[in-house]
């Protein structure tokens, strides 16, 4: 591999020898596609006809009035097919898989959104599909598992390590080293070995390209601040891409990445790699970035109410943008996130995913500091319907609880009848 994908000191390609040729092939396919204007056109066309692009920007008037500061706008990635920005990356990589002539795709998933999106793409484009998902996440995101299986994917629960996203990534790599001849690994975020961070950012940049144009049309000016949640960092890289160059004087667009504060930074139970001082530079899962690790270099367990942000590493591009001062990082706790979600549902009738609600929580804290001339843009990376079990627990909703009890009783009776017959 000639070009190794470094962003400052972060990134690289720390891949086992067995995958070197596969990465060379992927890099060549990606570079060739990028230079072919017809490829991007095909991508935009597909996203317009199959997903819901361009996704709109909504003005959140009620939230704006409530906080009395900046005017709050929301980029609606939740309106993509399958309910999140994940569709952008997945369909893009799917087109690349067709070009490479491979017939099978594999993917890791945390919240399940990337898994569902990949399974959808595989169904549409006619690929075999296997999804690796941490056992813990299988438990908390059962509805997504249900849909992946209906879409024809095989879902493999990963029982190693912390049984979350990072372990699903390791397992997907283990599949790939055996089956690279016919298989492409659709990595879901802007992490991993080169060219994944660049490639995922490239497909997700459609968010930022649209958003910059739309916000200028709607408000006549650039936003003062743009907020995005950060797990691996793909939705953040997507929307930030549109504004990275807006870095001068009073036209400067401030970019804020919001990580999972979990139970609070001080408890150590969080997934704040860039917003806390708990992470240090390391090399794992094929790339160099900030990881939440112990003094020996073993990865730590992370915590977040949202499966999609519950990850030990972070995009090497974002690590570089943090260290160079271009992106500021904050963390929102589980509790703040649930409050922000409840408020957004009631005030605007929008249901952001728990992941996206992190961006809302921090934006709400900061909106009153700005003036009503200022525009603030939040990336609603996904919709929250999928989180109904987690959110209902967090809201402690007694009617929901009763519904589950009744449903369980029905299933138990049905299972008992099946056994006796």
């Amino acid at each position: 591999m000639s070009e190794r994908g470094y962003y400052g000191e972060f990134g690289g390609a720390f891949v086992p020898e067995i995958l070197t040729a596969t990465f060379d092939e992927l890099q060549l396919a990606f570079e060739t596609a990028k230079q072919d204007p017809a490829f991007w056109e095909e991508f935009v066309q597909l996203m317009g006809s199959y997903s819901c692009r361009p996704t709109p920007i909504s003005y959140a008037e009620n939230l704006t009035n409530r906080f009395g500061g900046a005017r709050i706008y929301i980029k609606r990635e939740d309106l993509n097919h399958t309910g999140a920005h994940k569709a952008n990356n997945v369909m893009g990589q799917g087109l690349l898989v067709k070009r490479m002539g491979k017939t099978r795709v594999i993917a890791e998933t945390g919240a399940g959104q990337h898994g569902v999106a990949t399974a959808t793409m595989a169904a549409r484009l006619g690929f075999e599909c296997t999804i690796y998902m941490g056992e813990v996440d299988v438990e908390r995101q059962r509805p997504n598992v249900f849909w992946m299986e209906r879409l024809g994917a095989t879902v493999v629960p990963v029982t190693d390590g912390s049984r979350t996203l990072k372990d699903a990534i390791n397992e997907a790599f283990r599949d790939w080293v055996s089956n690279m001849d016919n298989t492409h690994y659709v990595l879901g975020t802007a992490c991993g070995p080169h060219p994944f961070p660049e490639m995922v950012t490239y497909f997700q940049s459609i968010i930022g390209t649209e958003a910059r144009k739309q916000i200028l049309e709607i408000t006549g000016k650039l936003p003062k601040r743009v907020y995005a949640c950060v797990g691996g960092g793909s939705n953040a890289m997507g929307i930030f891409s549109g504004f990275l160059a807006d870095d001068d004087g009073d036209k400067r667009v401030e970019l804020i990445g919001v990580e999972a504060g979990g139970h609070g930074i001080e408890t150590g139970q969080h997934a704040a790699r860039l917003a806390s001082k708990d992470a240090s530079i390391g090399v794992a899962q094929g790339y160099k970035t900030y990881f939440l690790q112990d003094g020996d270099g073993q990865m730590k367990e992370t915590h977040s109410v949202s499966a999609g942000l519950d990850y030990v590493g972070v995009s090497p591009i974002l690590a570089h943008l943090r260290d160079s001062g271009r992106v500021r990082f904050e963390a929102a706790t589980d509790k703040e996130v649930i409050e922000a979600l409840a408020l957004t549902i009631k005030s605007e009738g929008l249901i952001p995913a728990l992941e996206s609600s992190h961006a809302f929580a921090t934006a709400f804290k900061e909106a009153p500091q700005l003036s009503s001339d200022d525009v603030l843009l939040i990336n609603q990376s996904g919709r929250g319907d999928k989180d109904i079990f987690t959110v209902a627990d967090a809201f402690d909703d007694p009617k929901w609880e009763q519904f589950i009890i009744d449903k369980a009783a029905q299933y138990q009776a049905r299972a008992a009848a099946r056994r006796s017959s």
Partner: protein, 254 residues
């Protein structure tokens, strides 16, 4: 240096055996007995794996040993101390096997100095290709330790030459695609791959991944210098304890 050792031993034996243990699994006492048993059984070289939380190139058997060792509280310092115990007690070359983050976090140069003091003879770091290994290669060179790199069935011939340029001691040929511990077909296809490895390496070759029985070792005789026994020792350990591993290893070259 390792290369001379391998060449000297090869005067006496058709093929050498390199085994592998995961330090701290199932515990350090058992590991010490295991190393003793392996050396007594005539093993010529040994890999000491430092457990890591993300062992991306390892299959289920070694993966499980890694996570169980870490869950029982094994630390890097304990692994250094264990390596020192076996390297001073037993008269065969020992190598570290682990993932790059453990070296990087400790400080690569400092880590390599520590290896030299133990004294180890080399290291296998499967997620560190030569392209990313500048600091490591310089440190290994100045400590006169062997950096062991890997050939795989889809490594191009040009890349084999490139890897050979940075290698020292021997090159580890992965017998097939996939992770450690699965089945390998010891066949004509493997034979032509090994011939190509041999032609480009210019130094001794070791073959691992799926070497499980005497027939596999017999197949490799005359084609390479070292057969690597990894996951299968762990399987035998789990089934029959330390003595079973010794019997298994003795049977491979009878």
């Amino acid at each position: 240096m390792i290369q001379q050792y391998i060449e000297q031993q090869r005067q006496k034996k058709d093929i050498l055996l390199m085994t592998h243990i995961v330090m701290g699994y199932p515990n350090f006492d058992a590991c010490l007995k295991l190393v003793d048993e392996m050396v007594t059984a005539g093993v010529d070289l040994m890999e000491l794996q430092i457990p890591f939380s993300e062992p991306i190139a390892d299959g289920p058997v070694i993966l499980k040993a890694n996570s169980e060792a870490l869950a029982s509280g094994v630390t890097l310092e304990q692994c250094f101390e264990f390596a020192e115990t076996v390297a001073t007690r037993f008269d065969i070359p020992f190598l570290f096997m682990s993932y790059y983050n453990l070296l990087f976090k400790y400080g690569t140069a400092r880590f390599v100095e520590r290896m030299a003091r133990i004294p180890l003879r080399g290291a296998i770091v499967p997620d560190l290709p030569p392209e990313e290994a500048g600091e490591y290669l310089a440190a290994m060179d100045s400590s006169e330790l062997s950096p062991i790199f890997i050939y795989s069935p889809n490594t191009t011939e040009a890349r084999m030459d490139y890897i050979a340029k940075h290698s020292n001691g021997f090159i580890y040929c992965v017998a097939r695609k996939g992770v450690t511990g699965s089945k390998t077909s010891f066949s004509g296809e493997l034979e032509s791959y090994l011939a190509s490895c041999s032609q480009h390496a210019g130094i001794p070759l070791a073959v691992g991944f799926g070497v499980k029985e005497k027939a596999d070792v017999d197949f490799l005789k005359g084609k390479v210098d070292v057969a690597v026994i990894g996951s299968e020792s762990l399987n035998r350990l789990r089934e029959g304890g330390v003595p079973a591993v010794g019997n298994f290893l003795r049977g491979l070259r009878d």
